[in-house]
């Protein structure tokens, strides 16, 4: 298990390096940052000066290696756009994304697992149909539309919640619903399918024959096995929520990491984009690792393998 974990960690570091090197190279293909920094009034001389000022006139591999060296010490450089340390900017943005991501995944799990279980216990019943309807809706409805509808109803018609901002918990209610709802269908359908399969298996029949309580069969024996793929998918969904919440952050004007990444790309703010990519890569890798460990805890056979 230790060797396996060490191998996984080494792979994670390699993946992170490859991702950062690739993104560094690709960013250069998207346009000259000196032109973007200079703005519309910058002359050629200004742009040459900007290149020198920011060290953009050095070969790309030197720039990359310098960046890696500093990043290892926690120095992500200065944002070209804000002229502030990137780490300082991320320190204000990351909590917003983490709060949103955590609350959304909790929201999704709290609703999708019970609904999936009930739908599996009573297949083809009205509750199963309702769960199916909700999941189809969740997958079909664009997030920005649902977000705007919620704003219209809960902020404009019934002024109960603020439409945008991050000043308090109430600002996260609508974004959580929208982001969580988007992740719910996959989790719910996966729970339902897993439960249906497990409930039809021999050991559950044996447990019933032994006269175990239905609750014990359902939660102790069936759900524990059915939920294993849900854990893996949840980790992926959580990673997606953190990195892919750009639309939600834009609609609700949450100044989070997704929005920062998107805006920084359009501004050619390379140091910020690089740092954001690195942070997201590390989060993804850690989540995948966490999911593997959780699965090992849930199913001892995985540990042995």
């Amino acid at each position: 298990m230790l060797i396996y974990t060490l191998k996984r960690l080494a792979l994670a570091v390699a993946v992170t390096l490859v991702v950062s090197a690739l993104s560094f190279g690709l960013l250069y293909l998207s346009g000259d940052p000196a032109t973007a920094i200079g703005g519309e009034a910058a002359t050629d001389v200004d742009i040459v000066n900007i290149r020198k000022f920011y060290g953009l006139d050095r070969p790309i591999h030197i720039q990359y290696l310098t960046w890696v060296g500093k990043a290892l010490k926690g120095d992500f450089g200065m944002s070209y756009y804000f002229r502030l340390p990137v780490s300082e900017i991320m320190a204000t943005r990351l909590p917003v994304t983490l709060i949103l991501g955590c609350s959304a995944i909790v929201f999704a799990l709290v609703f999708s697992i019970p609904l999936g279980v009930i739908a599996a216990i009573r297949p083809n019943s009205w509750i199963d149909r309702t769960a199916l309807f909700l999941s189809v809706m969740g997958q079909a409805m664009p997030s920005f539309w649902l977000g705007l509808m919620l704003i219209v109803v809960l902020s404009v018609w019934l002024p109960l919640l603020p439409p945008s901002g991050t000043e308090g918990w109430e600002y996260f209610v609508m974004p959580t619903i929208v982001l969580g709802y988007f992740a719910m269908p996959a989790l719910m359908r996966l729970t339902r399918a897993g439960m249906l399969e497990v409930l039809a298996s021999d050991y559950i029949r044996t447990a019933r024959a032994k006269g175990l309580l239905p609750g014990s069969i359902l939660f102790k024996h069936a759900l524990r096995n059915a939920v294993i793929p849900v854990v893996s998918v949840s980790a992926v969904q959580f990673g997606f929520m953190l990195g892919g919440s750009i639309v939600i952050e834009t609609v609700f004007a949450l100044q989070g990491m997704g929005y920062l990444a998107w805006e920084s790309i359009t501004r050619s703010d390379f140091p910020t984009v690089q740092a954001v990519i690195l942070v997201f890569s590390v989060i993804y890798i850690l989540l995948t690792l966490l999911a593997d460990l959780l699965n090992g805890w849930l199913d001892p056979r995985i540990r042995v393998a």
Binding site: S30, G31, A36, R83, L84, P159, R267
Partner: protein, 507 residues
């Protein structure tokens, strides 16, 4: 996305009219809640290129002069009087008794330090074009300075009155651009209270603002600026009473909002001019069809500018025929005008050797709807224009490298009311000059550097007439700016894209 939501917002509007909640406008706490779509990079006036930076410049700081937008007159501001001593020298007598927000007294040392610091390329000021004409600034007395220009620069007063904010030299030499970005200190009608980069900027009325300022004393207690990029969220904020003022509203939502009882919508023409820029000079030797005059003229005749303006741009925008904004000094409309005539366009194309049209790339980075309309008109005469949608920086690099047949450009002249701010960038042999016409360059050189206004006007006219006759570009229309704000507010929008909140008040 905005047009897609027309029906959506109509439904919302009807529902709102039925259930309209009580607005929580900022009048109650004397705070004007302002929404802006783009995060400001830095509050430091010399380290941002965003329009909000220009707006903040006029609120947090003062310049030596102030241009009265209604009369066009340059009025003394931090200066009490000024004059051209010779073609390259201006002298300013400075106002006494003015204090910065931190209590420092304003004097010649501040002007000398600011102008010399910002004009030194080593300091990396972003808005180089606004300051690189300054040779040096000298102190002649505690309240008297002399500004030397690198060359004859008659537009200097326009630049000084525009965005040349004067900084407190002791404070700025201590905190630098990074400090000024988070704790701005100036002499302006508003002072900085809180700056959280990317989140909000809060300004408070400068109670000690000097009475003689041509800007006038501010009335509203606080300005609270937030950044929301999504236009529908901005509208929701305004409708729910959590915001009081927003701008850059697309035409369709503006029309819907105008029907609401508690909201005022105003529209203003702005100095930003949209235009098609052609690869006339063949800089890269690609031999583009656009190198030919008749092809460029054909494109000019193929596009129905008036219809696009009336149906898509709308509002107060005006059609533009010359490569400048009509109210800029030296700008003239007395140039050749290309009427919409697709038959003539086809004939010109045939004469140029393209009876069946040709294919070309059409580059742009904003106003896609208008680009698509133009693409349709070009298609009708046989020109297959393929839109290449890119980031601004990428398009600009391509234009400068001579790789772009035609681009959908726009230019705001940094609100400088002088034709040099437009023509100087695109037709005086700079990297953006895709015409490279020696005659035009010669006339512009004279116009940009002569002190005699009549000589300037005459040479601008000759240059602009040739630019139009040679169809180096096709000026389209000026940008329309829609403002929406609470009915509780007295606010007058201006054409220079600088909302003057220091002149606004509560009803």
């Amino acid at each position: 996305m905005d047009r897609r939501f027309s029906l959506f917002w109509l439904i919302v509007l009807l529902a709102f009219l039925l259930t309209a909640p009580a607005a929580q406008a900022g009048k109650a706490n004397d705070t004007l809640y302002i929404l802006h779509p783009v995060e400001l990079s830095s509050v430091d006036n010399y380290f941002n290129t965003d329009r909000l930076g220009v707006v903040l410049c006029h609120h947090l700081w003062d310049s030596l002069l102030y241009r009265d937008i209604n009369t066009g007159e340059y009025k003394p501001n931090l200066a009490t009087s000024w004059k051209f001593v010779d073609d390259k020298t201006l002298e300013f007598d400075l106002r006494q008794g003015v204090k910065f927000h931190n209590g420092d007294e304003f004097d010649a040392d501040d002007v000398v330090y600011t102008l010399n610091w910002v004009s030194d390329p080593k300091n990396g000021v972003k808005t180089q074009n606004n300051v690189n004409w300054i040779e040096k600034c000298e102190k002649l007395g505690k309240f008297k300075v002399r500004v030397k220009t690198k060359k004859n620069f008659p537009a200097a007063p326009a630049y000084i009155a525009g965005v040349t904010a004067i900084y407190p030299h002791k404070y700025y030499s201590k905190v630098g651009p990074e400090g000024m970005a988070v704790k701005p200190v100036g002499t302006g009608p508003y002072k900085g209270v809180e700056v959280v980069p990317g989140k909000h900027i809060i300004l408070a009325k400068n109670e000690n603002y000097f009475a003689a300022s041509p800007k006038g004393k501010p009335s509203i207690g606080k300005l609270h600026i937030r950044f929301i990029s999504e236009v529908n969220t901005q509208i929701a904020e305004l409708m729910s009473g959590r915001a009081d003022w927003l701008w850059r509203l697309p035409p369709d939502p503006a029309e819907k909002l105008a029907k609401m009882p508690k909201i005022t919508v105003k529209t203003a023409d702005t100095m930003r001019v949209f235009f098609l820029l052609f690869d006339a000079a063949n800089k890269k030797g690609r031999n583009s069809p656009l190198n030919k005059l008749k092809v460029r003229q054909a494109i000019c005749h193929a596009i129905d500018k008036a219809t696009i303006r009336n149906t898509l741009v709308k509002g107060a925008s005006r059609l533009v025929n010359s490569a400048c904004y009509p109210t800029q000094f030296g700008c003239t409309d007395d140039v050749i005008k290309y009427e919409y005539n697709p038959a003539k366009a086809k004939k010109l194309l045939a004469e140029a050797g393209y009876p069946n049209g040709f294919e070309m790339d059409y580059y742009g980075w904003r106003e896609r709807g208008e680009m698509e309309a133009i693409m349709g008109y070009l298609n009708a005469v046989g020109i297959k224009a393929k839109i290449q949608w890119m980031k601004y920086a990428a398009v600009r690099d391509k234009i400068r490298n001579g790789e772009v047949d035609m681009s959908h450009n726009n230019w705001g002249s940094y609100s400088i009311p002088d034709a040099s701010a437009f023509t100087g960038n695109f037709f005086r042999g700079t990297a953006d000059d895709n015409a490279r016409d020696p005659e035009v360059m010669k006339w512009l050189q004279i116009a940009d550097t002569s002190i005699d206004p009549e000589v300037r006007k005459k040479n601008y006219k000759m240059a602009l007439q040739r630019i139009a006759a040679q169809a180096y570009c096709l000026p389209l229309w000026s940008a329309n700016m829609n403002f929406a704000f609470t009915k509780d507010l007295n606010f007058v929008p201006q054409s220079d894209e600088i909302p003057r909140f220091f002149n606004a008040s509560w009803k």
